[in-house]
């Protein structure tokens, strides 16, 4: 992993905005520990639901280490681009401790048979199961990731710490509106704005 000690010239480059690089911004009164507690009350089953680019993977990036700190092992699966089957053989997972939580990012990609097998596997071995999805499935709700202009501004402020402020609030609002609330695309949009201004600033007059 490229360490954070290496400075980026653009604060919106992917290495700075990828899940885990930026701490997830919880609404007031909520935290990762609170999510763990809610998950426990729901029998270690839960879904994180939100539209594209709303921060589901970023939330997992802070949630999974918190699970580890709470003494739970995790098996993480990420499904991409219409991947309809699990990319691992469940029977080859071997012996898992009962405190293990399966984390499936992109659960709605799975076909009905894949979902059934996964749920049956977790139920049989008494494992926890946390999923992310763009639409509600039939799991107890753990968290809804929603984006709003305020969250977008907070996120940008955090990314700009230690960098020249070539982006202002109006840029953020315009990018947020252009990308219709998709925070990830908004950040990519701001990458271009920042890059353009940085170059203009550094090029000789």
């Amino acid at each position: 992993m490229t360490p954070d000690t290496a400075p980026s010239e653009n604060p919106f480059s992917t290495r700075r905005i990828r899940p885990g690089a930026v701490t997830f911004l919880f609404p007031e009164g909520q935290s990762c520990r609170g999510l763990i507690e809610r998950l426990r009350r729901n029998g270690w089953q839960g879904e994180i639901v939100g539209p594209h680019g709303s921060g589901k993977s970023s939330l997992l990036a802070c949630f999974v280490p918190e699970l580890h700190r709470a003494g739970h092992e995790t098996v993480r699966v990420e499904l991409h681009d219409g991947q309809r089957r699990l990319p691992l053989k469940l029977r080859k997972l071997g012996r898992l401790s009962p405190s293990t939580v399966m984390v499936v990012d992109g659960y709605e990609q799975l076909g009905p048979w894949g979902r059934f097998r996964l749920k049956f596997f977790c139920r049989r071995r008494r494992l926890g199961l946390v999923i992310t999805s763009h639409v509600p499935i039939d799991f107890p709700k753990l968290f809804d990731t929603v984006s709003n202009a305020e969250t977008a501004q907070l996120l940008v402020d955090r990314l700009l710490e230690g960098y020249e402020r070539l982006i202002d609030e109006r840029d953020v609002l315009q990018a947020y509106a252009r990308q219709e609330g998709n925070l990830r695309e908004m950040l990519f949009d701001l990458y271009d704005v920042y890059e353009s201004r940085r170059r203009r600033q550094s090029s000789p007059a």
Binding site: M1, G20, V75
Partner: protein, 434 residues
């Protein structure tokens, strides 16, 4: 202190994922798998060799001897018949003549025609062959040439030549090539990991790490200049792709349109379906227009050929470029440019986004206001100067820097077209940028 030389590409990860994200993918076959592969190819090779031996012994050798070793003499025809034998798709026939000839004072009387004896379909042409020979009698003293085997004079034929028979040898050759090639590949890669296999033969990668392979450019010689550049996307394939999309989309939409139209005609209109299907119909119409546009480009604008005089290319290089544009066109302008594009792919969650950005465009040639006539392609030559400060081509798993020769045509009364021809620019050969 232990030292390791690099070459391993590592994808940084923010979090630990389960190792295989994209399905259960084997990176190398096990021992039994390789054994199975070797056995499969050995069987293919053995079958090919066996079949080839059979073809050589029963067909090629007799044919060669007939045409080179057999001695010529004269014979008279005593009788004729058509021999029949059953075939897979019906009866097969062969013309046969009873002939009499002399070899070293000894008289031979045999039934013969060709060597090797070959039956085939079509009785009529065999009959016609027989009709061309006249049976010897008191009124007719016709003699015909024949060729006999000096080692076995009873073996004789009335026709010579090779015909198409030797082509039979091609069939076992295919088996031999597949079997032998596969066996060699399996043996060479026995016990090697996927990484070792990937590293084999990548000498240019070691010399220029992360520079794309340019063999696709150097393996196509030009007719005017040294190298003909391949097009990035063939217009034929683009047309095919648009056609498939058009047929697929409109095929599905048409079913619902038919239902909606029927309902209106029957006086029981399905308004919900009609309103719902309307945007899909509009998309379908758009696809039809797109197909027509692509068809016009593909059929109206003929092939575009680009050739260059040098490869590989380096910053600061100068070489020649040749352009040929066919068709029957009234050209507003045609321009040839050297273009550099950056391409970045980002995957997160269920989303994959690939973005391209043009970062450099150098116009090499432009001509305006002229006609191209069918059968007389427009041709032009110009200089291809690689900028001295150009970044080299780059190919990594998620990031690329691509250079292309782009031909842009602005045609009167016709859709504009743009055709790209990838090139590879390596770092300056002396190790530094000019």
């Amino acid at each position: 202190m232990r030292r390791y030389r690099g070459g391993e590409t590592v994808l940084p990860r923010g979090l630990r994922f389960y190792p295989k994200k994209r399905g259960d993918r084997r990176t190398g076959s096990g021992r039994w798998g390789r054994l199975g592969e070797a056995l499969f190819f050995t069987v293919f090779l053995a079958a090919g060799i066996g079949f080839l031996a059979l073809v050589v012994i029963t067909l090629l050798v007799p044919l060669w001897r007939l045409n080179n070793d057999f001695a010529e003499t004269s014979c008279r025809v005593l009788d004729k018949r058509i021999s029949e034998e059953p075939g897979e798709d019906g009866t097969l026939y062969r013309p046969e003549l009873e002939i009499e000839y002399q070899v070293k004072g000894r008289t031979y009387r045999v039934w013969a025609y060709d060597i090797p004896p070959t039956h085939s379909s079509g009785r009529d042409d065999k009959q016609a062959t027989l009709d061309s020979f006249i049976i010897h009698n008191d009124q007719n003293n016709q003699l015909y040439p024949c060729w006999y085997d000096p080692l076995e004079p009873k073996t004789v034929a009335l026709v010579r030549g090779y015909g198409w028979m030797p082509l039979m040898a091609l069939i076992p050759l295919v088996f031999i090539i597949v079997g032998g090639g596969g066996l060699i590949y399996t043996v060479l890669h026995w016990g090697k990991s996927a990484e070792h296999k990937a590293a084999a033969g990548l000498s240019s990668r070691e010399t220029f790490p992360n520079i794309p392979d340019d063999s696709n450019i150097t393996n196509s010689p030009g007719t005017t200049l040294d190298f003909r550049l391949p097009m990035a996307t063939s217009p034929g394939w683009a047309l095919f792709g648009v056609l498939m999309a058009c047929l697929f989309w409109n095929g599905i939409v048409s079913v619902f349109v038919a239902i909606a139209v029927n309902s209106h005609l029957e006086g029981n209109p399905e308004w919900f379906l009609t309103i719902f299907i309307t945007p899909f119909v509009l998309v379908g119409i758009g696809l039809v227009f797109l197909f027509i546009r692509q068809l016009l480009i593909t059929t109206g604008v003929g092939p575009t050929l680009v050739e260059i005089s040098g490869h590989p290319l380096h910053p600061g290089d100068h070489c020649d470029l040749f352009l040929s544009q066919s068709g029957r066109l009234s050209v507003n302008s045609i321009a040839v440019s050297l273009v550099c594009e950056e391409e970045a792919t980002y995957r997160q969650g269920t989303d994959t986004r690939t973005e391209s950005r043009e970062v450099r465009r150098v116009e090499l040639y432009r001509r305006e206001g002229f006609e191209i006539h069918r059968g007389l392609p427009f041709e032009a030559e110009c200089e291809l100067d690689i900028p001295a400060d150009a970044m080299h081509s780059l190919k990594a798993d998620h990031n690329e820097i691509n250079w292309q020769i782009v031909v842009d045509g602005d045609i009167a009364g016709w859709p504009d077209y743009s055709r790209s021809f990838p090139v590879v620019i390596r770092p300056a050969s002396d190790g530094g940028q000019a």
